[in-house]
């Protein structure tokens, strides 16, 4: 964390998609304007995701006197005061600071418990400038490989590091490379899977936006190892900024001679092109992805033959995900031993997680494998938003599951997480509190997989539809006594009767919630109650007379005019008109709206 080379002060604005969404561009423009007006001698630059997404927009200031302070929740209004106080007067505004060297903030532990390998350059470099990457040992790994390594040496090194695929399944990367190497062909391909489709996951987007060259370099090394000359990055079309920055990175790498013919004077030639996905979750599966690159409907096929033997255009192909490639240069430079010293016996290195949902500090974090879920959520994530009660953490998206409080001490590694019924997945971690209904969550994921099923396998196509119908009727209060057993048996059929990971894992969210939150399903089915007070058909909103001040705010926001009552009179919600949207509940400032569940049942009993 040094000031720029010439000793000049530096201001770095975090400008990944979420930063920009939170207003980073306006902050950047305002900084530029004020710096010019105040004639300050400071370098203004941008970077990717700094990681503390919950405090976006973020900026970091480095001066000769104060090495580094990261400020959060930056607004245009704060810019002038910040420049005057921090840069001109040399005073830190600690109330605005997230973390800083030499100061104490309540969030200081955010980065302290992390170990950053993949995110080594996150927040440190301008992703649109290859110079910044090169300065931080960028493209040194490929130079080392070209100079000192035979292809077999690279594969041995990657195998020794113990790294497993970060896309979800966790297959040994070194072995995968070895298989592709052993397949004889004069034409081979390297594919980077950037089709990050799990809802609630944004690690790969952040890496591609924040450190695109690390991905390119990882692919180069893989290309050298298996004997490929062509690389393809398959990126989700919903990630325009990632596409833009990868395009710039590829262009700059070509100009510098890191891509193209006879790289750095060696015999090795390699090129990378981008392919934009067109919106199909199933394309995250490798054979479906290959079909999509070939211009077909993205439908998976039977394996074997694996892509390492017969992949793109029937040629041997190696596919890894974004995070896996981003690890590779570090492993080559620091050595397999150093990498393998991190993590657990069977899961080496670190893992990047996207923390989201009902968590205080949502963002991008990277931790050594083996850290407990509890530590990730509480020590790094700061615990549950508004200090509500933790209910579950969802891992692995639509292929994963919900882990309850009783299993929070599970270490983050492939095998331990699989034992809980969830999976490591690509790294989405969505935290849920007591207002999240677990039946609704499983319905949410099933709706997703049902829509995204490519339709090839009958069990996946029709089975998920039937499961979804059952979940829908349960959440509508029309569940039948045998529904849980029906869900379980359908789940088993779908798992066994599906060709690819999408179908094989689609029932996981339902199975884990039945396993850990069965009583919630039963309450819906037998008592027509939603304990989380979330399922609309099972709840009712009522005014609490003692708290109502008659301010009319709720009546104004009600979209269907279900609320009556004049000013300073206690209001009344007409249950016949109310659609249970919750607008009044969110609007009320006096806690005068109550949510009841199972009312009709209870009233019927007492009547």
């Amino acid at each position: 964390m040094a000031v720029s080379n010439n000793g000049k002060s530096k201001i770095i604005v975090g400008m990944a998609s979420c930063g920009i969404a939170a207003g980073a561009q306006e902050v950047f423009d305002s900084l530029a304007k004020h710096i010019a007006e105040m004639k300050l001698d400071v370098e203004l630059t941008k970077t990717g995701c700094i990681g503390a997404c919950y405090r976006e927009p973020l900026i970091e200031i480095k001066t000769a006197q104060i090495p580094s302070v990261i400020y959060g929740d930056m607004t245009v209004k704060r810019v002038k005061q910040l420049l005057e106080q921090h840069l001109v007067n040399g005073q830190i505004i600690s109330e605005w600071a997230v973390v800083g060297e030499g100061i104490q903030t309540s969030e200081q532990d955010l980065f302290e418990n992390q170990r950053r390998i993949v995110l080594r350059n996150a927040g440190e470099i301008n992703p649109e400038n290859i110079h910044d990457y090169v300065e931080r040992d960028g493209y040194k790994a490929i130079q080392k490989v070209l100079k000192d390594f035979k292809a077999e040496d690279v594969i041995a090194e990657i195998k020794n590091s113990g790294i497993r695929g970060r896309g979800g399944a966790g297959f040994s990367t070194g072995l995968k490379w070895q298989f592709a190497r052993q397949s004889e062909s004069n034409e081979k391909y390297i594919i980077c899977n950037g089709d990050e489709g799990d809802p609630g996951a944004f690690m790969d987007r952040s890496i591609m936006e924040g450190d695109p060259h690390s991905v390119l370099e990882g692919m180069l090394i893989a290309g050298y190892a298996i004997g490929a000359q062509q690389g393809i990055i398959y990126v989700r079309a919903e990630y325009p900024l990632a596409v833009h920055r990868l395009e710039i990175a590829i262009q700059q790498a070509r100009e510098r001679g890191f891509l193209g013919k006879k790289i750095l004077g060696s015999k090795f030639s390699f090129n990378i092109i981008l392919k934009l996905g067109a919106g199909a979750f199933v394309c995250g599966e490798e054979t479906a992805l290959i079909a999509s690159v070939e211009g077909k409907r993205g439908m998976p096929r039977l394996r074997p033959p694996f892509p390492a033997v017969r992949g793109l255009w029937d040629k041997p192909t190696n596919i890894n995900n974004v995070e896996t490639y981003a690890n590779i240069p570090w492993i080559i430079l620091k050595g397999a031993k150093e990498f393998a010293s991190l993590g657990t016996e069977k899961s080496k290195g670190t893992k990047v997680f996207a923390l989201a949902g009902k968590i205080k500090r949502g963002g991008m974090v990277e931790v050594p494998m083996g850290m407990s879920l509890r530590d990730v959520i509480y020590k790094i994530g700061g615990g549950i938003k508004d200090d509500k009660e933790f209910k579950a953490v969802q891992l692995g998206g639509p292929s994963g599951g919900c882990v309850p409080e009783s299993l929070l001490d599970t270490p983050v590694d492939y095998d331990s997480l699989t034992k809980t019924g969830a999976i490591m997945g690509s790294g989405g971690m969505v935290v849920m509190d007591d207002r999240t209904c677990m039946v609704d969550v499983s319905k949410f994921f099933l709706k997703f997989t049902q829509e995204e099923s490519c339709g090839k396998c009958t069990f996946c196509r029709i089975g998920t539809k039937r499961m979804l119908e059952i979940l829908e009727r349960i959440t509508e209060g029309k569940g039948q006594p045998e529904d849980i057993e029906k869900l379980e048996s359908l789940a088993e059929y779908i798992k066994q009767g599906s060709l690819c990971g999408l179908g094989q894992t689609a029932p996981n969210p339902v199975l884990t919630t039945i396993q850990y939150f069965r009583e919630e399903y039963e309450a819906h089915i037998h008592q027509k109650k939603c304990p989380a007070k979330s399922c609309r058909e099972l709840i009712e909103y009522r005014v609490i007379p003692d708290n109502c001040t008659g301010c009319m705010l709720c009546a104004r926001v009600c979209p269907v005019d279900a609320i009556s009552g004049a000013k300073k009179e206690i209001h009344y919600i007409d249950p016949e008109i109310c659609t249970h949207c919750g607008a009044c509940y969110d609007a009320c400032k006096f806690d005068a709206i109550d949510i009841l569940t199972g009312v009709l049942e209870d009233e019927a009993k007492t009547a």
């Binding site: 997404c53 919950y54 996951a201 996905g277 211009g295 077909k296 993205g298 994921f445 997703f448 969110d586």
Partner: protein, 162 residues
């Protein structure tokens, strides 16, 4: 997917399409990028364009149509001047995305997935925009809005309607 409206052969301007066809048509595996480029030109995939692509690339029209209907990105009907996409990823879902879509439906007076009659607005749900820490999120054209509430959404809509 809904059928494309009948297009008029006389008014369909195929010149920009022919240009890209000339550039790409003979390359292998080019169908998806071609459809993406075509959609960039017309805002959707007109039926006549699909026929042109089929002929130029020597691909069965059934295959072109099959690919066009497989991927969520492609549309067979015109899209509104402004595209409003509400994120329904996991984080947004647990933070109230359903409500955000409802407010949009009320404000634009269209249902999710529909385009307003004056062709000004199209409302869609998307699986995940990847801005999970700002949930709930929506995008209007190229702008992203996060940490939304009923009121915030109405503010955005008001600005848009002006």
């Amino acid at each position: 997917m809904e059928a494309s409206p009948v297009e008029n052969l006389d008014t369909f301007d195929k010149r920009p399409l022919l240009k890209i066809l000339k550039k790409y048509a003979k390359k292998k595996g080019i169908l998806i990028p071609l459809l993406q480029e075509t959609q960039k030109i017309y805002g959707y995939l007109p039926r006549l364009a699909l026929v042109q692509i089929s002929e130029a690339t020597n691909t069965d029209i059934s295959q072109v149509y099959g690919v066009a209907t497989f991927y969520a990105q492609f549309r067979l009907a015109p899209v509104g001047k402004h595209l409003i996409r509400v994120c329904h990823g996991t984080a947004c879902h647990v933070s109230g995305a359903t409500r955000i879509t409802e407010v949009c439906e009320e404000e634009f007076d269209i249902k999710d997935g529909e385009t307003s009659k004056d062709l000004k607005f199209t409302l869609e749900s998307v699986a995940c925009l990847g801005c999970c820490s700002l949930a709930p999120v929506m995008t209007v054209d190229d702008n992203t809005y996060g940490r939304l509430t009923d009121r915030e959404v109405r503010k955005v809509v008001e600005k848009l309607k002006k």
